[in-house]
Amino acid sequence: MSRLKETAERLVEVARDAGADDAIAEVIDSSTDQIRFSNSMIDTSNFWREVHAHVFVAVDGRTISSDVRDLKGAPSTVRELVRMAKLTPVNEGYRGIASGRFKYRRTRTDPRMLSLRNPARFVHDAIGSALENGAVDVGGTLFVRRGRWGIASSKGALAEDGNASMDLSVRAFTQPEASGQAVCVTTTVSKMKAMDTGARAADLAVKAKDPVQGEEGKVDLVMEPLIMGSMTGHSASMASALAVELGMSMYAKKIGKRVASEDVTIIDDPSMGSMTRRTFDHEGMPTRKNIVIKDGMLKSYLHNTSTARRFKTRSTANAGPMIAGQFTTPNEPVVFHTVLKPGEWKLDEIIEDTKNGLYLNNTWYTRFQNSSTGDFSTIPRDALLLIRNGEIVSSVKNIRVSDNMLRFWKSVDAVSRTVEEVFWWGEADPGHLPAARARKINITRSS
C-alpha cells in the first residue's frame, strides 16, 4: 500500500477508535518551484515543500476539521480533535460523507515533470523570445507543481493519486500602456512551449501599440481563452450548491432553464489530464465529468454529500478541501476544472465575422454588484484591439465591461473549435477553454 494512503487510513482508524462516527483523512505531499520575473530578469526563485493532512471527524452530528501540519504527532492531534468535536455545537446541516465501495481511475504523471530540476531555462527562453518579437519589457511567473495525496474515510474511501504540471505566464510590454499576456499550462514537460508563449505575448503587445481611449457603448466582444477563464470561473463557481443556498448564485431556481445561448456547454471535468486533475474529491468519492450547462440549459448544481442530501439529490463528487480557506468553508462544493465545449469556428473566422467589436486578451477584477442577479463589471487588460469590418485595426485602453453575467452568456454566438488549457494568477480559473464571441456587451469608461 502506498505511504500517503496508509497514513490516511491509520489516522481514520485513530479517529474511529477515539469515538468518531465519521472520519476522513487526506494526506498531502507537495513540492513547488516558482520563478518570478520582471523587467526581463528573474527577481526571485521560490521553493515550497509541505507534508500535512486534512482531517475531518464527526461525532453525534458535531463536526470539526483540522489541517494537521505535524504528521509525527498526528495520531494524538486526531484524538484531541475527536475530543474537541464532542464539545462542539451540533452541525445541523451535516448529512454525512460519501459512502460506498469506490473504484478509482488510474492516472499517470510525466516522470520528467517530477524530476525537473532547473526550470529557469524556460523562463530565459520566454524572455528571450518575447524580446526578439518586439517586446521591450517582460515579466511573468513559472510554476512547477508536484503533488501526491492519499485519502481514507470511515465510509469506504481509500485511494492515492498524484499530479504534476507546469504553468508559465508571460506579460510583454512594447510601450508603457501596450501589453500582451499569454500562458502555457501543461502536464507534460515536452509540451511546455516557453518560446511560443513569449512570442505570443509580444505579438499581442505589438498589436496593442499606441492605444487610444476606448468609447462607451454596446459592442461585440471576441474573447481569448484567457479572459474566458475569468468568465467561466466566476460563473461555474455559482453552480456550487452552497452558493445557491446562500443566495450568492445567479443560478438559483434555474435548473432546467435557459441560462446561456445554445452555443454554451460548461462542464466540470476533473477526470481529464490537466493541472487540476483529481481522481477523487475531498470526501474520497471518485470524481466524474459533470455537465453544469448543456446547450445553454442549466443541468446541475455541484454537490458534496451534505448539500446533495439537503437538495434531495446525489453528490456530484465536488466536495472541496476539508479545511477552511479564505472565505471558503470546509468541504464546500468546488469546481475542479472548467471546460467550455468547443464550437465550430476558427478564431480568424470569428474576427472576420465581426463588424464592430473588441478583441480582448485578458481581464482582472471581475466583481459582482449582486451575485444573485449576475450584475458585474470587469476590467479588460493587456491587448484590447478594435475590430472594424472583420479586421483588427487599432488598440484601445481604459475601458470596463459593465453588464450582466447571465446576459453575457446568452449573448455568446460563436465559439472557437480550438481549446487551450489556461490558468492565470487570481483571475483565470483552471480550465480547457476556447475563444468566444458575445454580442452587444456594455462598455463603460471613467469620466
Binding site: 528573474i42 499576456q181 470596463r400
Partner: protein, 471 residues
C-alpha cells in the same frame, strides 16, 4: 515555543557558503480557529496548529527563497542548500541591491485581555448567533445569513545575517458576514468585515450586531424606496467606507514601490506612478492619505516589519502631492532610498513583499453636518458593493450599497445603484472638503504570487467631491 537554535544554525550554514548580500531566516508557529454559522446553525468548525520556517538568501545573482512546514536543523539545512541554489540560478545582470538598515533586537507582542485560546466554541457560536438574531430581528427576508469568525495567535522569529533578531506574538481576530436582503422580488447584497489584533475583548468595540441590524433595515428600504441617480454631474459625499476603498486602491496600491518598479507587472500590475513623480500634484490640498501600521489594536498592526525594519506612519499623498512610496529593502535599494517598514508576508511559506497596513484619508476640520449642508444637489455614497480598478490604478469604479440623495443641504431619500467611475487624479482633485472624524473598515488585501491575503484597515472621514459624474 520557537527554537532559536534552529534559526541560528541555518544562518550559520548560509553565511558559511561564501559572500552574500543577505541571509534571513523566519520561524513561525500559529494556532488558528474558525467557525461559520449559516442561517442560525453551525455550519463548520475547524482548527489548526502550524509550525514552519523559511530562508531567504540574497546574492548578487538573485534571490532564493525556500520554506517547509517543519522546524528542525535537518530541514533547515535542506532549505539553505535549496535557497542558495535558487539565488545562484537567477543569473541577474543587474545586481540585487538592498537598502542599508540598522540591525535591531526586539521582542514585541500585542496584549490580550481575554486570550483567544480561552474562548470556547460555544462562546463563538453564541456570538455569531447574536449577529444572526440581529439580522432576523429586522423582520426582513434575508437569505445567506452567513457569519464566519476566525482567530488565532501567530508567533514569529526573524534573524538575519546583519545581526537583526526580532520576536513577535500577534493574536488576531476577524469576522466576516454575508447577507442578501430581498423584497418585492428584488435583492441587495451585503458583505461586511470586522477585524482587530488583540484578544476576544476586541469584538466589543466592533458593534457588529447593531451595524448589521441597521444594514438590513437600510437595504430593505433601498429596495422599497430607492431611486436611480439620473446620470450627470453632482457633488458627491463619500462615507468613511468609500473614502477607505479609494485610499487603499487609488493611493496605497499605486504607491507600492514594487509595482512602480514593475516587480508585480504580470500579476497585480504596474502603477501609473513612476519613480520620478515624487513631488508631483495628484490631488487637492485636502488629499492627504496615510498608511500607518502603528494604530494600536488595528487589524494591520505591527511594530517591526518582516525584514526587521521599525514600522512608522507613511504619508503617501500629502496635501495633494505624491509624497512617499511604500518600500521594503529591495525596492528602497533599487531607488536609493530607505525602507519605511512595509515588508509583510501572510505566512512563513510566502516571500515578504511591499504591503499596506492601515490606509486612510487624513481628517480635516469640518463636521459631517457641515459637509452635508454644503451640498445643494448631490449624492451621499455611504458604502459600496461592486468595485474594481485597473492594474495601473488609474480607472476605478464604486457602486453604492447605501446611498442617499442630498437636496438643499439635507439628506433626502435613498439612491440605488449609484455608480462613480472616475480616474485617480480626477477623484483626488475633486476633493474639496474633509470631515474631522475617521472611521475604519477591516479588509483582506490580495497581492503577490501566490496571492497573499493580508489583514488591513481602510478608512477615512467623510469626503466631499465637487462636480463629479455619477450614473
Amino acid at each position: 515555543m520557537i527554537d532559536e537554535d534552529v534559526a541560528e544554525h541555518m544562518l550559520d550554514l548560509a553565511t558559511a557558503k561564501g559572500p552574500l548580500v543577505l541571509a534571513e531566516v523566519r520561524l513561525e508557529t500559529s494556532d488558528r480557529r474558525n467557525m461559520t454559522v449559516k442561517q442560525g446553525e453551525v455550519h463548520s468548525v475547524s482548527t489548526s496548529s502550524d509550525a514552519g520556517m523559511n530562508v531567504r538568501i540574497v546574492l548578487d545573482t538573485g534571490i532564493g527563497f525556500a520554506s517547509t512546514n517543519s522546524i528542525s536543523k535537518s530541514s533547515g539545512a535542506v532549505l539553505v542548500r535549496k535557497a542558495l541554489g535558487l539565488a545562484k540560478a537567477g543569473k541577474r545582470k543587474r545586481k540585487v541591491k538592498l537598502s542599508r538598515e540598522k540591525a535591531v533586537t526586539a521582542d514585541w507582542k500585542v496584549p490580550q485581555k481575554r486570550p483567544l485560546r480561552d474562548v470556547s466554541d460555544e462562546e463563538r457560536m453564541s456570538y455569531l448567533n447574536s449577529l444572526d438574531a440581529a439580522v432576523m430581528d429586522s423582520g426582513s427576508k434575508v437569505q445567506g445569513r452567513y457569519f464566519d469568525i476566525a482567530d488565532g495567535e501567530v508567533e514569529r522569529l526573524l534573524l538575519n545575517s546583519e545581526g537583526t533578531r526580532v520576536r513577535s506574538q500577534v493574536p488576531i481576530i476577524r469576522m466576516f458576514s454575508f447577507n442578501m436582503v430581498s423584497s418585492k422580488g428584488q435583492s441587495e447584497q451585503s458583505f461586511r468585515e470586522w477585524g482587530s489584533t488583540g484578544g476576544w475583548e476586541r469584538i466589543d468595540g466592533w458593534g457588529a450586531a447593531p451595524a448589521l441590524s441597521e444594514e438590513i433595515r437600510v437595504l430593505k428600504d433601498l429596495i422599497d424606496h430607492g431611486k436611480a441617480v439620473k446620470p450627470g454631474s453632482y457633488d458627491l459625499l463619500c462615507g468613511p467606507e468609500v473614502a477607505g476603498i479609494a485610499a487603499h486602491e487609488s493611493c496605497g496600491h499605486p504607491m507600492e514601490a514594487d509595482r512602480i518598479l514593475g516587480r508585480e507587472m504580470s500579476q497585480a500590475g504596474k502603477s501609473f506612478v513612476k519613480p520620478d513623480m515624487l513631488g508631483e500634484v495628484i490631488g487637492s490640498k485636502h488629499a492627504t492619505v496615510i498608511d500607518d501600521p502603528t494604530v494600536p489594536g488595528s487589524y494591520g498592526y505591527y511594530e517591526y516589519d518582516q525584514e526587521g525594519v521599525r514600522a512608522k506612519p507613511r504619508f503617501l499623498y500629502r496635501k495633494g502631492v505624491i509624497n512617499e512610496f511604500l518600500h521594503n529593502r529591495e525596492t528602497a535599494g533599487a531607488l536609493g532610498s530607505k525602507s519605511n517598514g512595509s515588508s509583510r508576508s501572510e505566512v512563513y511559506s510566502k516571500e515578504p513583499i511591499t504591503r499596506m497596513a492601515n490606509t486612510f484619508v487624513a481628517p480635516g476640520d469640518q463636521g459631517e453636518d457641515e459637509l452635508v449642508q454644503s451640498v445643494r444637489d448631490g449624492v451621499y455614497m455611504k458604502s459600496f458593493t461592486e468595485w474594481n480598478i485597473d492594474d495601473k490604478r488609474y480607472n476605478q469604479k464604486y457602486v453604492s450599497r447605501e446611498a442617499y440623495f442630498v437636496k438643499g443641504g439635507r439628506i433626502a431619500g435613498p439612491a440605488r445603484g449609484c455608480v462613480l467611475e472616475i480616474t485617480t487624479p480626477r477623484f483626488w482633485k475633486s476633493l474639496d472638503g474633509v470631515s474631522d472624524k475617521v472611521e475604519f473598515v477591516a479588509a483582506e488585501c490580495g497581492k503577490g504570487d501566490p496571492i497573499q491575503g493580508m489583514e488591513v484597515l481602510t478608512g477615512g472621514p467623510m469626503l466631499r467631491l465637487r462636480g463629479v459624474h455619477l450614473k
